[in-house]
Symmetry: C2
Subunit: 224 residues, 2 copies
DNA sequence: CCACATTGAGAGCAGTGCTCACATTCCGGA
DNA sequence: TCCGGAATGTGAGCACTGCTCTCAATGTGG
């Protein structure tokens, strides 16, 4: 079982998600393909396992980086976000296929990262939320760029508040909204690089671009 | 030929990119599969055609929306960006599979959107750039959130300047950098919704969330 | 020691992308 | 008008995929 997801990850980094085949894994294990179905119900289920695995790995990496930054800088929100962004970015560049699996085209019949079976999918978002909450507490209200609570629809506020209760974070819905948007932006910025959407010449210096973009988003999250 | 990409788009909206098969298109055309290969070299080449088609459609839609907003508000950058974001968002929600084709997992052996064969891929980004340039010209320098030119690596500045020359837009590299980041953020925010990364309960009110996020990004782009 | 669950083998089905030799049809120049 | 070549479609076939089913071997607990 562990060998299956291990070999699955290996095939993933070699040929990407489309190249991952249960027959190939069976070959690698010296078995026949039908034997794999004793352990995993379908190819999509195998992909879901790999997704959960990747979510956990990414979240562990980010957690570790943020923890060291927190210890080193005394909990400065900006430094923590920079550590988070850099770690996320480095992980994505190191494991582009796994990043693609998480934030690229979703697998059919794979529900949502917020599912109970794989709560790891929301861990990074929660860290961003806590950073934003601390930043909002410390920061000055001047030069705010996030929308005020009056600009948010009631249903949106209700959903945000339910998330705050679920995650156990005390802050305003407006701050969580800003955190959510910054998180989506961070994913978008990294994906643009991993997916090569900026063109070939930008790919060569992509890490430098990403570095500056993360700093810009850090500037943004301190103004929520 | 036109029937092929027409039927290809139809199959795309029905079953997504993975469900698109040249045999299926052949069946829909009442031909045998090998006949398709007279017109298109491979399945990936067919996908590339559909990508170009989608890029052009998206850019046309956005252009039209921005043009009306420009005429209606006398060229206010914020209004233009809101029109752009709303149009892009509406297009993505109307054509989720085509959006996925553009900004989801890239197709193997599909070069870059900046390719000469499909320059439509950069059109929306260029519109964002022009809006940012106008906003930078009119706006006050106070409360800026974009990084200064001193914070950008020389290679990055060189690349940005070459883009400015290519697109014929006169502004600073720092402003273009901010525009690039806002564009990536916009794509990220929309993708998060289309790909369902925010969970099932968020999907129900996704459009309201997106609306507020676009307004937040509009606020951001007026401070570059 | 035996019943039973676990694990794997092997054949097979339906589907895919793609290639190649072959037939047909169309069309412009002699 | 004819004819040669280009364009277009056919059908068989290869290698591959996910997945199902039956059957045999191999443990393992009562």
């Amino acid at each position: 079982m562990e060998q299956i997801i291990e070999l699955g990850n290996a095939q993933l980094v070699e040929q990407g998600a489309t190249g991952l085949s249960v027959r190939g894994i069976a070959r690698g294990l010296g078995m026949v393909s039908s034997a794999i179905y004793r352990y995993v119900g379908s190819r999509d289920e195998l992909l879901t396992l790999l997704i959960s695995d990747a979510y956990a790995d990414l979240a562990d990496t980010v957690d570790a980086a943020v923890a060291t930054a927190e210890a080193g800088t005394g909990g400065d929100p900006r430094a923590r976000f920079l550590a988070l962004g850099d770690a996320m970015c480095a992980w994505a560049i190191t494991h582009p296929e796994r990043w693609t699996l998480l934030y690229g085209t979703p697998v059919r019949d794979y529900s949502a990262p917020a599912d109970t079976t794989n709560a790891d999918g929301t861990r990074v978002m929660q860290v961003v939320l806590r950073i934003a909450a601390d930043a909002a507490e410390q920061g000055d209200d001047g030069a705010r760029v996030a929308p005020g609570e009056a600009d948010l629809a009631p249903e949106v506020i209700a959903l945000l508040e339910s998330h705050l209760a679920e995650f156990g974070v005390e802050t305003t819905p407006a701050t969580e909204f800003a955190a959510l948007t910054v998180w989506s932006s961070l994913v978008g910025v990294i994906s643009a690089h991993v997916f090569g959407q900026l063109g070939a010449d930008a790919a060569a210096i992509g890490e430098r671009i990403l570095d500056a973009q993360i700093r810009m988003l850090a500037e943004l999250i301190t103004r929520c």
